[in-house]
């Protein structure tokens, strides 16, 4: 079965990112397909490579990046929601002449169309809200 997930909460502030990650791991382990994870609202912070939790704590961004590498996932940070909140890749940092970029590997910045497309092609679209 084809799943897509949307994540609206900030990691380390709200459990929903952890729940979405555990859910994603479980569905992939069971052999289902994960078409896309779309990070929107405060969920965009899941993609920050600069998050630096203490070493004895889980690093949600790193977990997503690893999962993306293992299963070739499409992790999309909404570009409009992301730019507002300081989530930039190299291209956007150049475009807006910002001093740094912070989008972790395995994540891409893209538009809301990706969320709608996910709703169109997935058997189950599941919202992890905060």
């Amino acid at each position: 079965m084809i799943f897509s997930l949307t994540v609206y909460g900030a990691p380390f502030s709200n459990q929903c990112s952890d729940t979405a990650y555990q859910f994603a791991s479980s569905l992939l382990k069971q052999g289902h397909s994960l078409h896309r994870v779309f990070f929107y609202h405060d969920g965009v912070y899941n993609g920050s490579v600069l998050a630096t939790p203490p070493q004895d704590e889980r690093n949600i961004q790193a977990s997503w990046s690893q999962l993306a590498q293992q299963y070739d996932l499409d992790l999309v940070v909404c570009v409009a929601a992301g730019l507002r909140r300081g989530m930039l890749d190299e291209t956007e940092a150049d475009r807006y002449e910002q001093p740094a970029h912070n989008l972790a590997s395995g994540f891409t910045l893209s538009g809301l169309g990706q969320m709608v497309e996910a709703a169109m092609v997935s058997d189950r679209m599941i919202t992890f809200g905060a």
Partner: protein
């Protein structure tokens, strides 16, 4: 039929109430994150949930119950599931509606 997910404690949010109002008979409800506190026995919501058990199957996410120290005594009729069980429920029901 729909699988409803709720992630807020009923003691501080209207999610459970709104979901119970709107959920059609035969739809199921899974309590996740702080919503698992709704699975506690002897609360102000116990009677309401017990009554709703005739209309909906109730599930609670076990890792969330355990994290909060309430996995050993939950309301009769609420079934504990792990993440694999949560995923399986999402496939059994035709869509998922989130209350948060």
């Amino acid at each position: 039929m729909i699988l409803h997910t709720i992630n807020r404690s009923p003691f501080g949010s209207s999610c459970l109430q709104s979901c119970l109002d709107v959920a059609a008979a035969g739809s199921a409800i899974i309590l996740i994150e702080d919503a698992v506190y709704a699975a506690l026995p002897n609360t102000q919501y116990t009677d309401q949930i017990a009554a709703a058990l005739g209309k909906h199957k109730f599930y609670a996410l076990d890792p969330d119950l355990k994290a909060r120290g309430i996995h050993e005594a939950t309301l009769d009729g609420i079934e504990s599931v792990d993440y694999d069980g949560f995923v399986a429920l999402c496939t059994e029901f035709s869509k998922v509606v989130s209350w948060y």
